[in-house]
Symmetry: C2
Subunit: 113 residues, 2 copies
Amino acid sequence: MDDLTEMLKGTLEGCVLEIISGEETYGYAITRRLHELGFTDVIEGTVYTILLRLERNGLVQVTKRPSGVGPPRKFYALNDAGRGELAAFWTKWQYVSSRIDKLRIDKLKEGGR
Amino acid sequence: MDDLTEMLKGTLEGCVLEIISGEETYGYAITRRLHELGFTDVIEGTVYTILLRLERNGLVQVTKRPSGVGPPRKFYALNDAGRGELAAFWTKWQYVSSRIDKLRIDKLKEGGR
DNA sequence: GCCCACTACTCGGTGATACCGTATAGTGGT
DNA sequence: ACCACTATACGGTATCACCGAGTAGTGGGC
């Protein structure tokens, strides 16, 4: 799949919040999870900028823990503000995606005139 | 619905392409159509920016016609490149939205542990 | 005749976001 | 000693939607 960066703007952060909400985790693992999900072109640097932003905006609780296989990891967990932000994200996503899907379905219904 | 601007990045242009593909139309009418579709906060200036970009990128054919109720209108129609871009947009949208929905559904399935 | 509302388009500048490249650093294998 | 893998940080860039102000044409109320 070719370049998705523009379409991911405004949604990638929500995806990261969702991943964090599932379990306390860290940047390197989040990147691999995104790759598994199909977002194969998302690069580590992007994930770290999002995580630093989440921290700066007070949406996460951060805990540094030693790794055993490399440098220490920064584990992220959502706080109340983060859970609120995640809920707001899904509300927005539902709103936007349903309307875009409708625009597409209406077109398909015409039967390609 | 509060601010959707970030989430619309990369998709609003596709919506405009879709609207144009339905019928030859012009900026002011496209703006009203977007409002009808639920994107009530999209402002005229944004639509015109997109239209100028489409023109600059050679995705549309432009015809100026007198209006009768105001200044002349610039009517936009997709050319072959524009139809290709629209098809690519829907492919991307399908790819991204299905994966994001999956992320959400997987979470709901857990039953809010 | 004059202002105003509605229609219709343009353009310079702003803010947010994902991406790129590079740097730093810990662990373990050869 | 070198390299691969793990793990994070940071300055700079491109793109996009948005903002604000400006320009114009038509028609209605006073």
